[in-house]
């Protein structure tokens, strides 16, 4: 068992040019994912969490581009990779699952053919062997009678079933890391719970690292060992799930926890954080959360640095909350 992180993102910055100047979707992000670890990335839509996930796959589409930082995967800086270098990693060592299972599969190609393609693009393998691996992968994600399913088209599956197929495709080449971008958001709650349970088990059994991108802290609580909270392109808090849920140090994390439905009493109105995300191309000077923050003070006009609260817990705030009090 090696101790160096599997994925290590250092000082990453991703920009999209717009008419009002560059939009910084990911701003100076540092993040490590250990081998076998499940990491949750939490944030509102537009906080940059999806772009962060895509940049680890080299899938940032033009005109967006990495303007600073490194993505080190298994000891190699992959940002320097050529398209063919990336292709060897994508789907093979890092797999990605997207939010909407209804649009992730090619509508005019049979499921089996799509899976064989995913396998054969990384291994020289016979059709029969490929079919055996596909059957195993499908059973592992809870699809019964896989043989009948292989000749079906995506529209013949339910949403939950389609996402299982997508996950099976991600598992095919036994990747070291799976990045899942809100994979259960489009599904109903019971199926979401099943898939979460299955994924947690899979990650434990195969020692696969998992990065779970979501806007839902409740999902993170069920699956992740560690959480990174993103706000306006930056990571504002980073630490073990239990610590953060119990005693958040950043006012934004506190707000997120307070607005979880599970934390509301029956009949009580759900808490919500006032205001909305600032425009990423026109960030306020200083702390970008300050305009919405209950604790904002004059010191918040300075850009806050990431402060190490303990060895495994960091926060980006000039006056961190002292542990949930």
């Amino acid at each position: 068992m090696r101790n160096d992180p599997l994925l290590s993102i250092k000082g990453l910055r991703v920009e999209f040019p717009t008419q009002d100047g560059p939009l910084v979707a990911v701003n100076n992000v540092d993040l490590d994912v250990a081998r076998g670890e499940v990491l949750g990335i939490v944030g509102e839509s537009g906080s940059g969490k999806t772009v962060l996930g895509l940049s680890a796959m080299g899938l940032i589409d033009r005109p967006g581009r990495l303007t600073a930082g490194q993505v080190v995967f298994d000891g190699q800086d992959v940002t320097k990779y050529s398209e063919s270098g990336w292709r060897n990693i994508r789907g093979n060592r890092i797999a990605m699952i997207f939010q909407d299972p209804t649009t992730s599969l090619n509508p005019v190609q049979q499921i089996g053919a799509q899976m064989i393609e995913a396998l054969q693009s990384h291994r020289d393998i016979s059709r029969d062997n490929a079919r055996q691996i596909i059957r195993n992968a499908m059973v592992r994600v809870g699809i019964n009678s896989p043989d009948e399913r292989l000749n079906a088209y995506p529209h013949q599956f339910s949403g939950g079933m389609r996402q299982r197929v997508v996950i099976a495709i991600a598992l095919l080449n036994e990747p070291d890391l799976i990045i899942a971008d809100e994979p259960t958001t489009a599904l109903d709650v019971t199926i979401q719970a099943q898939i979460l349970r299955d994924m947690r088990r899979l990650s434990r059994d195969t020692r696969t690292s998992l990065v779970w991108v979501t806007h839902d802290l409740g999902v993170v609580a069920q699956i992740a060992q560690r959480v990174a909270v993103m706000y306006a392109g930056r990571i504002v808090e980073n630490g073990p799930t239990e610590k953060i849920l119990k005693s958040p140090c950043h006012p934004y994390t506190e707000g997120l926890i307070a607005s979880m439905p599970a934390n509301a009493l029956p009949g009580e109105r759900l808490h919500s954080i006032p205001g909305g995300l600032p425009q990423l191309s026109k960030l306020p000077a200083g702390c970008s959360f300050a305009p919405r923050c209950n604790y904002a003070a004059s010191a918040c006009n300075m850009s806050p640095k990431l402060i190490q609260i303990s060895s495994d817990h960091a926060v980006r705030c000039v006056s961190p909350l002292d542990g949930g009090s």
């Binding site: 899938l59 789907g91 997207f98 190609q109 053919a113 990384h122 079906a152």
Partner: protein, 325 residues
């Protein structure tokens, strides 16, 4: 579905009937075909005899009644010029036109599809900008003039290709066509390219629009995240998804090709339907003109009907009802 087809078929038959009435009545207003039928120095009673023989002394409504009775039994009258049944003349000439239109279609797709896909994949590329700039020029070029320029260049100056006619005809699998002989191909290439010219731009535009639409879809991103090679993504994910609409439109456009063949056939003296009808118009050969018009109207009505049925069948709501398992 059945009621829809029935309603549209009845509608088409009514349109066809109205068109035949209109065409028949109006064509009687132009010129006197007897002038074409007899020697200019003929005596008046000779002229009268011819007039009687062709039924031209009857009032228009009785001529139409006569025509309609004939038409229902497959007799559209005799050509004044050739003295043979118009329908037989058309049946003789139709294969040549069909061959020309078919080859033009193939040329348009082989050139237009790759160019359109390229433009869709690289919307900001240098070559794309040149292509799009050229396409305004392309739709402005009068195709008949370009045909003449082709003759000047390839036949007069370079002497590579024959100027006119259909060339030798070969037989393969019971089909007679000039595709099967070298001489036939040499005769075919210029007219087919000329006829294809204005369809190339259309196929290109369709392919470009389809490509930029499909490439933005999630399943393409998912395929890239699986590490599929670019060629593979284009072949099995992009192509099948853009081909459905392109094939449908090409189906509708086939009728237009046959209509436009009149021009191309006149330039290259291609012995097809178009040449026949242009000569007939100039020579006031009424039966042939009427027969051609009714044929083309029927062709278009049928093509439109088929396309409407296909659209109804491709409508996801209709498809889901019949297809879901």
């Amino acid at each position: 579905m059945f009621a829809f087809i029935l309603r549209r078929t009845i509608q088409s038959v009514i349109v066809l009937f109205v068109m035949s009435l209109l065409v028949f009545c109006m064509i009687n207003l132009v010129g006197d075909p007897v002038d074409m039928l007899v020697n200019p120095e003929s005596l008046p009673d000779e002229i009268e005899r011819v007039r009687r023989d062709f039924g031209l002394d009857q009032p228009v409504y009785s001529q139409y009644w006569h025509f309609l009775k004939g038409a229902l039994s497959g007799d559209l009258g005799k050509s004044y010029v050739f003295g043979r049944p118009a329908l037989a003349l058309m049946a003789e000439r139709f294969p040549a036109t069909l061959e020309l239109a078919f080859c033009a279609l193939i040329i348009a797709v082989t050139i237009g599809l790759p160019l359109g896909i390229y433009a869709g994949l690289r919307p900001d590329g240098f070559a794309t900008r040149i292509m799009m700039g050229m396409s305004v020029l392309g739709i402005s070029i009068p195709t008949f003039w370009l045909g003449l320029m082709m003759i000047i260049l390839f036949s007069v100056i370079l002497g590579w290709l024959p100027v006119s006619g259909r060339g030798d005809i070969g037989v393969f699998l019971g089909i007679e066509s000039s595709i099967f002989t070298m001489d036939g191909l040499r005769h075919l290439i210029m007219p087919a390219t000329n006829l294809a010219l204005f369809k190339i731009a259309m196929v290109m535009r369709l392919a470009r629009a389809g490509t930029s639409e499909v490439m933005a879809q999630d399943f393409i991103r998912f395929a890239r995240a699986q590490g599929l090679p670019r060629k593979r993504i284009i072949k099995s994910h992009l192509l099948p998804n853009i081909l459905i609409p392109i094939v449908t439109v090409i189906g509708i456009e086939f009728g237009t090709l046959i209509a436009f063949a009149t021009v191309t056939e006149s330039i290259f003296s291609w012995p097809g339907l178009g040449k026949l009808v242009i000569d007939a118009i100039i020579n006031l050969d009424r039966p042939v003109v009427v027969a051609y018009l009714l044929f083309v109207v029927a062709l278009f009505l049928t093509l439109n009907l088929i396309v409407d049925i296909i659209y109804a069948a491709l409508d996801p709501r209709v498809r889901l009802q019949g297809d879901d398992t």
